[in-house]
Symmetry: C2
Subunit: 214 residues, 2 copies
């Protein structure tokens, strides 16, 4: 099971690392971080993550998992990463994304008319790229699985792990990463967060798209 | 708010990245990845993460956040990272860990008689290092906050974010990373996972300590 996670500058680290932590525990999995050029890429908060392989070295991954982050905005016009997504998608077993990673799938023409999700602040942009946006944590449509913002990648990856290797393997992975979430607040979605917290983030995002990493 | 996350070989990526994704969103926060020597460190699944600073360059962080992983086992005898933890702890505002990162706090003598937690498979080891192990997702004891396995770092970091900057900032961060967890299974703790899944992981861990990253 050959799994490719593309990196690019200004990605959001947890978008990539949540699914990586789950999928790398699948029996027989080989996870590779890939990029246009091998090397170090900097997240939106300046952590360096290393891509060991070029996109060209991974022409037929079984699973593609595209993270998001503010860096996606510079990748919505033709570029080698989006070209690679378009090229590998027909032969993947699963094509997946977290957060605004789905915008890159959209830019590659993969989501034309497809129900899909993204960070709650980017649903409009996803629609403009051809998808049918769904405000839901994990959206499955055939072999395309998209997740909502950042931390939703954990739920997406466990869903995918069950599809790939069965419920019991997914449950074992969940226990090994002790994913028994108990956040101290119930503020993780626009439905549950205090209204003024939602409004504040919306307004910050409208005024300065870079202010809220997504 | 100067936040230091030490890296070492064979750490578990999500242990570090969960809290990083939360804490780096704190107003005025500066998160630095530090190590004995600056450079690239490989996680237990071979992802390269970059430490930009040496431990010596960060002698007085406000917050220390120690990740875990199998690599902690090679760091329980005297070594520069544990020496650094012992040196910086007296002046931190918070000293924190995720998963087996607490073993390193223990090795530094910081947890003598202190209620603390770790990955569920490492509670015995934590006790041998002087702590009073508590099977709980997040354990606060004064300025020492420890988290259970891997994904528990998200809950720990949100708890810490509220202590540092208030509930509303923590709620806003939770919404920005859309942390509204809905795992497809309820298998994230020994209390909820199917008994045979728990038994299997226990037996794999007993036979080959490297088999379950923690």
């Amino acid at each position: 099971m050959d799994i490719a996670i593309p990196l690019f500058d200004r990605l959001t680290a947890l978008d990539a690392i949540g699914p990586y932590e789950v999928l790398s525990r699948l029996p027989g999995a080989r996870v590779r971080f890939v990029a246009v050029t091998p090397g170090t890429y900097r997240t939106d908060k300046n952590l360096g993550l290393v891509a060991d392989e070029s996109l060209d070295a991974v022409p037929a991954p079984d699973i593609v998992m595209v993270p998001g982050g503010m860096g996606t905005r510079a990748l919505l016009t033709p570029n080698p990463l989006v070209d690679w997504l378009r090229r590998v998608h027909p032969t993947t077993r699963w094509t997946t994304s977290v957060c605004t990673g789905s915008l890159l799938l959209g830019a590659a023409g993969i989501l034309e008319g497809v129900p899909a999700t993204t960070h709650w602040l980017a649903l409009d942009t996803l629609a403009r790229l051809g998808a049918k946006p769904v405000e839901q944590r994990v959206v499955e449509h055939g072999k395309i699985i998209t997740a909502a913002g950042v931390s939703a990648g954990l739920d997406m990856a466990l869903t995918l792990a069950a599809r790939v290797a069965g419920d019991e393997v997914a449950q074992s992975i969940q226990l090994s990463i002790e994913y028994d979430p108990h956040p101290p607040f119930d503020s993780g979605s626009t439905r549950t967060a205090p209204a003024h917290v939602v409004a504040q983030l919306r307004s910050r995002a409208a005024q300065a798209p870079g202010a809220v990493a997504r």
